[in-house]
Symmetry: C2
Subunit: 218 residues, 2 copies
Protein backbone atom coordinates (compact mmCIF):
# COMPACT_ATOMS: atom_id res chain seq x y z
CA UNK A 1 0.00 0.00 0.00
CA UNK A 2 1.12 3.53 -0.66
CA UNK A 3 1.45 5.85 2.29
CA UNK A 4 -1.35 8.24 3.16
CA UNK A 5 0.45 10.93 5.08
CA UNK A 6 -1.20 14.35 4.97
CA UNK A 7 1.13 15.37 2.14
CA UNK A 8 0.10 12.46 -0.07
CA UNK A 9 -3.61 12.49 0.74
CA UNK A 10 -5.48 14.21 -2.04
CA UNK A 11 -7.50 17.24 -1.16
CA UNK A 12 -10.17 16.53 -3.77
CA UNK A 13 -11.30 13.88 -6.25
CA UNK A 14 -10.16 11.17 -3.88
CA UNK A 15 -11.47 8.50 -6.23
CA UNK A 16 -8.54 9.28 -8.45
CA UNK A 17 -6.00 8.32 -5.81
CA UNK A 18 -4.49 4.88 -6.24
CA UNK A 19 -3.17 2.92 -3.28
CA UNK A 20 -1.80 -0.10 -5.13
CA UNK A 21 1.98 -0.09 -4.93
CA UNK A 22 2.36 -1.91 -8.25
CA UNK A 23 0.74 1.08 -9.98
CA UNK A 24 3.43 3.33 -8.48
CA UNK A 25 6.11 1.00 -9.85
CA UNK A 26 4.43 0.90 -13.27
CA UNK A 27 4.30 4.70 -13.55
CA UNK A 28 7.92 5.09 -12.46
CA UNK A 29 9.13 2.31 -14.76
CA UNK A 30 7.26 3.65 -17.80
CA UNK A 31 8.31 7.28 -17.38
CA UNK A 32 11.60 8.52 -18.81
CA UNK A 33 12.12 11.79 -16.94
CA UNK A 34 11.03 13.09 -13.57
CA UNK A 35 10.54 16.64 -12.35
CA UNK A 36 12.61 17.26 -9.24
CA UNK A 37 11.44 20.01 -6.90
CA UNK A 38 13.60 21.58 -4.21
CA UNK A 39 13.43 24.77 -2.18
CA UNK A 40 16.29 27.17 -2.86
CA UNK A 41 16.51 30.51 -1.06
CA UNK A 42 12.90 30.01 0.01
CA UNK A 43 11.42 29.57 -3.44
CA UNK A 44 10.55 26.40 -5.38
CA UNK A 45 12.80 25.17 -8.19
CA UNK A 46 11.55 22.43 -10.54
CA UNK A 47 13.97 20.78 -12.96
CA UNK A 48 13.69 17.77 -15.29
CA UNK A 49 16.07 14.97 -14.39
CA UNK A 50 16.82 11.37 -15.31
CA UNK A 51 16.02 8.68 -12.78
CA UNK A 52 15.75 4.94 -12.29
CA UNK A 53 14.05 2.64 -9.79
CA UNK A 54 15.26 -0.47 -7.99
CA UNK A 55 12.75 -1.89 -5.53
CA UNK A 56 11.75 0.94 -3.22
CA UNK A 57 14.69 3.16 -4.07
CA UNK A 58 14.58 5.90 -6.67
CA UNK A 59 17.96 6.99 -8.02
CA UNK A 60 18.50 10.48 -9.41
CA UNK A 61 21.31 11.46 -11.72
CA UNK A 62 23.53 14.22 -10.40
CA UNK A 63 24.71 15.43 -13.78
CA UNK A 64 21.42 17.12 -14.67
CA UNK A 65 20.46 20.34 -12.92
CA UNK A 66 23.70 20.06 -11.04
CA UNK A 67 23.37 23.06 -8.74
CA UNK A 68 19.99 21.86 -7.53
CA UNK A 69 21.21 18.35 -6.89
CA UNK A 70 24.25 19.56 -5.01
CA UNK A 71 21.89 21.39 -2.70
CA UNK A 72 19.60 18.37 -2.47
CA UNK A 73 22.65 16.39 -1.44
CA UNK A 74 22.91 18.62 1.61
CA UNK A 75 19.88 16.80 2.99
CA UNK A 76 17.24 19.11 1.56
CA UNK A 77 13.67 17.94 1.17
CA UNK A 78 12.76 17.02 -2.38
CA UNK A 79 9.58 16.25 -4.26
CA UNK A 80 9.92 14.06 -7.34
CA UNK A 81 7.01 13.83 -9.79
CA UNK A 82 6.66 11.56 -12.82
CA UNK A 83 3.68 12.17 -15.09
CA UNK A 84 2.46 10.10 -18.01
CA UNK A 85 -0.08 11.85 -20.22
CA UNK A 86 -2.47 9.30 -21.74
CA UNK A 87 -5.18 11.33 -23.44
CA UNK A 88 -7.05 14.58 -24.02
CA UNK A 89 -10.66 14.33 -22.85
CA UNK A 90 -13.04 16.28 -25.10
CA UNK A 91 -16.36 16.89 -23.33
CA UNK A 92 -19.65 18.35 -24.50
CA UNK A 93 -18.94 21.36 -22.28
CA UNK A 94 -15.77 23.42 -22.14
CA UNK A 95 -15.74 23.09 -18.36
CA UNK A 96 -15.55 19.28 -18.36
CA UNK A 97 -12.59 19.02 -20.70
CA UNK A 98 -9.83 17.11 -18.95
CA UNK A 99 -6.79 14.89 -19.35
CA UNK A 100 -6.22 11.19 -18.81
CA UNK A 101 -2.94 10.72 -17.01
CA UNK A 102 -0.99 8.76 -14.41
CA UNK A 103 1.14 10.72 -11.98
CA UNK A 104 3.46 9.62 -9.17
CA UNK A 105 4.52 12.09 -6.48
CA UNK A 106 7.28 11.19 -4.01
CA UNK A 107 8.33 13.19 -0.96
CA UNK A 108 11.52 12.62 0.97
CA UNK A 109 15.15 13.47 1.52
CA UNK A 110 17.48 12.54 -1.31
CA UNK A 111 20.75 11.22 0.06
CA UNK A 112 24.00 11.12 -1.91
CA UNK A 113 25.27 7.61 -2.65
CA UNK A 114 29.00 7.67 -1.98
CA UNK A 115 30.28 4.15 -1.32
CA UNK A 116 31.70 2.43 -4.36
CA UNK A 117 29.46 -0.60 -4.69
CA UNK A 118 26.06 1.05 -4.10
CA UNK A 119 27.06 4.06 -6.22
CA UNK A 120 28.03 1.80 -9.13
CA UNK A 121 24.73 -0.03 -8.67
CA UNK A 122 22.88 3.29 -8.78
CA UNK A 123 24.64 4.19 -12.03
CA UNK A 124 23.63 0.84 -13.50
CA UNK A 125 19.99 1.39 -12.51
CA UNK A 126 20.04 4.91 -13.99
CA UNK A 127 21.67 3.72 -17.22
CA UNK A 128 19.35 0.75 -17.67
CA UNK A 129 16.29 2.94 -17.12
CA UNK A 130 17.44 5.48 -19.69
CA UNK A 131 18.82 2.98 -22.20
CA UNK A 132 18.10 -0.69 -21.46
CA UNK A 133 21.03 -2.84 -22.58
CA UNK A 134 23.59 -0.03 -22.55
CA UNK A 135 25.23 -1.04 -19.28
CA UNK A 136 26.49 -4.25 -20.92
CA UNK A 137 27.00 -2.79 -24.41
CA UNK A 138 28.79 0.52 -23.80
CA UNK A 139 32.21 1.19 -22.30
CA UNK A 140 31.98 1.12 -18.50
CA UNK A 141 32.50 3.98 -16.07
CA UNK A 142 36.18 4.72 -15.48
CA UNK A 143 37.72 6.04 -12.26
CA UNK A 144 37.70 9.68 -13.34
CA UNK A 145 34.07 9.55 -14.47
CA UNK A 146 33.05 7.66 -11.34
CA UNK A 147 34.55 10.37 -9.13
CA UNK A 148 32.95 13.19 -11.11
CA UNK A 149 29.40 11.84 -11.30
CA UNK A 150 26.93 12.09 -8.43
CA UNK A 151 24.07 9.76 -7.62
CA UNK A 152 21.25 10.48 -5.20
CA UNK A 153 18.93 7.91 -3.65
CA UNK A 154 15.37 8.61 -2.51
CA UNK A 155 13.25 6.15 -0.56
CA UNK A 156 9.78 5.47 -1.99
CA UNK A 157 8.24 5.42 1.50
CA UNK A 158 6.09 8.52 1.07
CA UNK A 159 4.60 8.27 -2.40
CA UNK A 160 1.21 8.66 -4.02
CA UNK A 161 -0.26 7.95 -7.42
CA UNK A 162 -3.12 9.84 -8.99
CA UNK A 163 -4.73 8.93 -12.26
CA UNK A 164 -7.64 9.51 -14.60
CA UNK A 165 -8.38 6.85 -17.20
CA UNK A 166 -11.93 7.26 -18.45
CA UNK A 167 -14.16 8.92 -20.99
CA UNK A 168 -15.82 12.32 -20.73
CA UNK A 169 -17.74 13.07 -17.53
CA UNK A 170 -20.53 15.21 -18.95
CA UNK A 171 -23.58 16.70 -17.26
CA UNK A 172 -26.80 14.73 -17.99
CA UNK A 173 -28.35 17.79 -19.67
CA UNK A 174 -25.34 18.11 -21.99
CA UNK A 175 -25.60 14.44 -22.99
CA UNK A 176 -29.32 14.96 -23.61
CA UNK A 177 -28.75 18.13 -25.64
CA UNK A 178 -26.39 16.21 -27.94
CA UNK A 179 -24.92 19.46 -29.23
CA UNK A 180 -21.21 18.64 -29.23
CA UNK A 181 -18.81 15.74 -29.77
CA UNK A 182 -17.26 13.99 -26.80
CA UNK A 183 -14.50 11.45 -26.56
CA UNK A 184 -10.84 10.87 -25.85
CA UNK A 185 -7.87 11.65 -28.08
CA UNK A 186 -5.17 9.21 -26.94
CA UNK A 187 -1.67 10.59 -26.35
CA UNK A 188 1.31 8.28 -26.59
CA UNK A 189 5.07 8.60 -26.31
CA UNK A 190 6.80 6.62 -29.05
CA UNK A 191 10.31 5.99 -30.28
CA UNK A 192 11.32 6.84 -33.84
CA UNK A 193 13.91 5.19 -36.05
CA UNK A 194 17.40 5.08 -34.50
CA UNK A 195 19.73 7.76 -35.91
CA UNK A 196 23.31 6.36 -35.94
CA UNK A 197 26.14 8.76 -35.14
CA UNK A 198 27.87 10.02 -38.28
CA UNK A 199 31.31 8.98 -36.99
CA UNK A 200 30.55 5.29 -36.51
CA UNK A 201 32.63 2.85 -38.55
CA UNK A 202 30.90 2.15 -41.90
CA UNK A 203 28.40 -0.68 -41.89
CA UNK A 204 28.10 -1.02 -38.11
CA UNK A 205 24.57 -2.28 -37.48
CA UNK A 206 22.20 -0.82 -34.90
CA UNK A 207 22.42 -3.26 -31.96
CA UNK A 208 19.44 -5.39 -30.96
CA UNK A 209 18.82 -3.61 -27.65
CA UNK A 210 18.19 -0.39 -29.59
CA UNK A 211 16.21 -1.79 -32.52
CA UNK A 212 14.00 -3.79 -30.14
CA UNK A 213 13.15 -0.68 -28.16
CA UNK A 214 12.42 1.33 -31.30
CA UNK A 215 10.12 -1.42 -32.56
CA UNK A 216 8.28 -1.88 -29.25
CA UNK A 217 7.46 1.79 -28.80
CA UNK A 218 6.02 2.42 -25.37
CA UNK B 1 15.76 38.05 -24.83
CA UNK B 2 15.07 35.87 -21.85
CA UNK B 3 16.04 37.16 -18.45
CA UNK B 4 19.31 36.14 -16.88
CA UNK B 5 18.64 36.63 -13.22
CA UNK B 6 20.74 34.47 -10.89
CA UNK B 7 17.87 31.97 -10.67
CA UNK B 8 17.72 31.48 -14.42
CA UNK B 9 21.45 31.50 -15.09
CA UNK B 10 22.68 27.96 -15.51
CA UNK B 11 25.37 26.77 -13.18
CA UNK B 12 26.94 24.49 -15.77
CA UNK B 13 26.83 23.64 -19.47
CA UNK B 14 26.02 27.23 -20.28
CA UNK B 15 26.12 26.48 -24.01
CA UNK B 16 22.81 24.70 -23.55
CA UNK B 17 21.02 27.82 -22.39
CA UNK B 18 18.90 29.54 -25.00
CA UNK B 19 18.20 33.24 -24.85
CA UNK B 20 15.85 33.51 -27.84
CA UNK B 21 12.36 34.32 -26.61
CA UNK B 22 10.72 32.57 -29.56
CA UNK B 23 12.22 29.29 -28.35
CA UNK B 24 10.51 29.82 -24.98
CA UNK B 25 7.20 30.35 -26.76
CA UNK B 26 7.74 27.26 -28.93
CA UNK B 27 8.42 25.01 -25.93
CA UNK B 28 5.40 26.33 -24.03
CA UNK B 29 3.12 26.08 -27.07
CA UNK B 30 4.20 22.53 -27.93
CA UNK B 31 3.94 21.13 -24.39
CA UNK B 32 0.65 19.84 -23.03
CA UNK B 33 1.26 19.77 -19.29
CA UNK B 34 3.50 21.72 -16.96
CA UNK B 35 4.92 20.78 -13.57
CA UNK B 36 4.00 23.41 -10.99
CA UNK B 37 6.25 23.72 -7.96
CA UNK B 38 5.29 25.49 -4.76
CA UNK B 39 6.60 25.48 -1.21
CA UNK B 40 4.12 24.12 1.33
CA UNK B 41 5.02 23.91 5.01
CA UNK B 42 8.64 24.46 4.04
CA UNK B 43 8.92 21.55 1.61
CA UNK B 44 8.62 21.47 -2.18
CA UNK B 45 5.47 20.15 -3.86
CA UNK B 46 5.49 19.43 -7.61
CA UNK B 47 2.22 18.68 -9.39
CA UNK B 48 1.28 18.27 -13.07
CA UNK B 49 -1.18 20.89 -14.27
CA UNK B 50 -2.75 22.14 -17.47
CA UNK B 51 -1.70 25.53 -18.80
CA UNK B 52 -1.93 27.86 -21.75
CA UNK B 53 0.02 30.87 -23.03
CA UNK B 54 -1.12 34.20 -24.41
CA UNK B 55 1.73 36.58 -25.19
CA UNK B 56 3.85 36.86 -22.07
CA UNK B 57 1.19 35.48 -19.74
CA UNK B 58 0.99 31.84 -18.70
CA UNK B 59 -2.40 30.73 -17.42
CA UNK B 60 -2.73 27.81 -14.99
CA UNK B 61 -5.90 25.84 -14.43
CA UNK B 62 -7.09 25.88 -10.83
CA UNK B 63 -8.99 22.60 -11.05
CA UNK B 64 -5.87 20.44 -11.02
CA UNK B 65 -3.89 20.04 -7.81
CA UNK B 66 -6.46 22.24 -6.18
CA UNK B 67 -4.98 22.58 -2.72
CA UNK B 68 -1.64 23.67 -4.17
CA UNK B 69 -3.22 26.23 -6.44
CA UNK B 70 -5.31 27.68 -3.65
CA UNK B 71 -2.08 28.25 -1.76
CA UNK B 72 -0.40 29.63 -4.85
CA UNK B 73 -3.29 32.04 -5.12
CA UNK B 74 -2.24 33.46 -1.76
CA UNK B 75 0.72 35.03 -3.53
CA UNK B 76 3.15 32.18 -3.05
CA UNK B 77 6.19 31.89 -5.27
CA UNK B 78 5.85 29.27 -7.96
CA UNK B 79 8.15 27.57 -10.42
CA UNK B 80 6.55 26.22 -13.59
CA UNK B 81 8.52 23.82 -15.77
CA UNK B 82 7.58 22.42 -19.18
CA UNK B 83 9.82 19.71 -20.60
CA UNK B 84 9.75 18.15 -24.07
CA UNK B 85 11.77 14.95 -24.38
CA UNK B 86 13.14 14.63 -27.92
CA UNK B 87 15.51 11.68 -27.82
CA UNK B 88 17.65 9.18 -25.93
CA UNK B 89 21.35 9.68 -26.65
CA UNK B 90 23.26 6.37 -26.79
CA UNK B 91 26.99 6.98 -26.43
CA UNK B 92 29.98 4.66 -26.73
CA UNK B 93 30.49 5.06 -22.99
CA UNK B 94 27.88 4.63 -20.27
CA UNK B 95 28.94 7.95 -18.78
CA UNK B 96 28.12 9.99 -21.89
CA UNK B 97 24.60 8.68 -22.31
CA UNK B 98 22.20 11.61 -22.29
CA UNK B 99 18.85 12.96 -23.43
CA UNK B 100 17.85 15.44 -26.08
CA UNK B 101 15.22 17.76 -24.67
CA UNK B 102 13.84 21.28 -24.53
CA UNK B 103 12.88 22.63 -21.14
CA UNK B 104 11.34 25.94 -20.05
CA UNK B 105 11.55 27.07 -16.42
CA UNK B 106 9.54 30.05 -15.21
CA UNK B 107 9.79 31.72 -11.80
CA UNK B 108 7.26 34.17 -10.43
CA UNK B 109 4.15 34.79 -8.39
CA UNK B 110 0.97 33.32 -9.81
CA UNK B 111 -1.93 35.71 -9.29
CA UNK B 112 -5.57 34.66 -9.33
CA UNK B 113 -7.57 36.09 -12.23
CA UNK B 114 -10.87 37.27 -10.78
CA UNK B 115 -12.47 39.88 -13.03
CA UNK B 116 -15.01 38.47 -15.45
CA UNK B 117 -13.49 39.41 -18.80
CA UNK B 118 -9.85 38.46 -18.14
CA UNK B 119 -10.92 35.29 -16.33
CA UNK B 120 -13.08 34.21 -19.27
CA UNK B 121 -10.14 35.01 -21.56
CA UNK B 122 -7.88 32.85 -19.39
CA UNK B 123 -10.35 29.97 -19.63
CA UNK B 124 -10.40 30.32 -23.41
CA UNK B 125 -6.59 30.25 -23.56
CA UNK B 126 -6.47 27.17 -21.31
CA UNK B 127 -9.17 25.38 -23.34
CA UNK B 128 -7.63 26.17 -26.70
CA UNK B 129 -4.22 24.98 -25.52
CA UNK B 130 -5.62 21.68 -24.26
CA UNK B 131 -8.08 21.14 -27.10
CA UNK B 132 -7.81 23.56 -30.03
CA UNK B 133 -11.26 24.25 -31.48
CA UNK B 134 -13.19 23.22 -28.37
CA UNK B 135 -13.92 26.76 -27.20
CA UNK B 136 -16.13 27.28 -30.27
CA UNK B 137 -17.41 23.69 -30.53
CA UNK B 138 -18.36 22.77 -26.95
CA UNK B 139 -21.01 24.26 -24.69
CA UNK B 140 -19.67 27.42 -23.04
CA UNK B 141 -18.95 28.04 -19.38
CA UNK B 142 -22.13 28.76 -17.39
CA UNK B 143 -22.38 31.00 -14.34
CA UNK B 144 -22.07 28.19 -11.81
CA UNK B 145 -19.02 26.70 -13.51
CA UNK B 146 -17.47 30.14 -13.93
CA UNK B 147 -17.76 30.80 -10.20
CA UNK B 148 -16.34 27.41 -9.23
CA UNK B 149 -13.30 27.38 -11.50
CA UNK B 150 -10.09 29.20 -10.69
CA UNK B 151 -7.54 30.61 -13.10
CA UNK B 152 -4.06 31.78 -12.21
CA UNK B 153 -1.85 34.03 -14.32
CA UNK B 154 1.94 34.02 -14.26
CA UNK B 155 4.10 36.56 -16.03
CA UNK B 156 6.82 35.16 -18.28
CA UNK B 157 9.28 37.85 -17.16
CA UNK B 158 11.72 35.49 -15.42
CA UNK B 159 12.05 32.48 -17.68
CA UNK B 160 14.81 30.35 -19.12
CA UNK B 161 15.07 27.64 -21.73
CA UNK B 162 17.62 24.87 -21.72
CA UNK B 163 18.01 22.35 -24.48
CA UNK B 164 20.14 19.61 -25.95
CA UNK B 165 19.63 18.72 -29.61
CA UNK B 166 22.65 16.85 -30.89
CA UNK B 167 24.28 13.48 -31.35
CA UNK B 168 26.50 11.63 -28.89
CA UNK B 169 29.37 13.57 -27.34
CA UNK B 170 31.94 10.80 -27.03
CA UNK B 171 35.56 10.91 -25.90
CA UNK B 172 38.03 10.80 -28.83
CA UNK B 173 39.51 7.54 -27.51
CA UNK B 174 36.05 5.92 -27.45
CA UNK B 175 35.38 6.97 -31.05
CA UNK B 176 38.78 5.56 -32.00
CA UNK B 177 38.19 2.28 -30.14
CA UNK B 178 34.96 1.78 -32.12
CA UNK B 179 33.74 -0.75 -29.57
CA UNK B 180 30.11 0.31 -29.15
CA UNK B 181 27.20 1.78 -31.12
CA UNK B 182 26.34 5.45 -30.72
CA UNK B 183 23.37 7.44 -31.91
CA UNK B 184 20.05 8.96 -31.00
CA UNK B 185 16.73 7.19 -30.52
CA UNK B 186 14.12 9.88 -31.22
CA UNK B 187 11.24 10.24 -28.76
CA UNK B 188 7.97 11.74 -29.92
CA UNK B 189 4.58 12.46 -28.41
CA UNK B 190 1.81 11.50 -30.82
CA UNK B 191 -1.97 11.40 -30.87
CA UNK B 192 -3.84 8.15 -31.52
CA UNK B 193 -7.19 7.60 -33.17
CA UNK B 194 -10.03 9.55 -31.50
CA UNK B 195 -12.20 7.35 -29.24
CA UNK B 196 -15.79 8.66 -29.36
CA UNK B 197 -17.81 8.54 -26.14
CA UNK B 198 -20.18 5.54 -26.03
CA UNK B 199 -23.20 7.73 -25.29
CA UNK B 200 -22.97 9.96 -28.37
CA UNK B 201 -25.91 9.87 -30.75
CA UNK B 202 -25.40 7.17 -33.38
CA UNK B 203 -23.53 8.26 -36.48
CA UNK B 204 -22.19 11.53 -35.10
CA UNK B 205 -18.89 12.11 -36.90
CA UNK B 206 -15.65 13.11 -35.18
CA UNK B 207 -15.41 16.88 -35.79
CA UNK B 208 -12.68 18.34 -37.98
CA UNK B 209 -10.81 20.06 -35.13
CA UNK B 210 -10.25 16.64 -33.53
CA UNK B 211 -9.49 14.61 -36.66
CA UNK B 212 -7.06 17.26 -37.88
CA UNK B 213 -5.14 17.13 -34.62
CA UNK B 214 -5.02 13.34 -34.61
CA UNK B 215 -3.72 13.34 -38.18
CA UNK B 216 -1.10 16.03 -37.57
CA UNK B 217 0.44 14.34 -34.56
CA UNK B 218 2.94 16.59 -32.86
Amino acid sequence: MLSTTPRTTLGRKKHRAVTDRSVLYDVLDEGLICHLGIVRHGVPVVLPTGYGRDGDTLYLHGSTGAASLREAARDLDVCVTVTLLDGIVYSRSVNNHSMNYRSAVIFGKAAPVVDREPKMHGLEVLTEHLAPGSWAHARGVNAKEFAAVSVLALDLAEASVKMRAEGPDDEPEDVEADAAWAGVLPVRTVFGEPEPSADLSPGRPVPAHVTARAAAGR
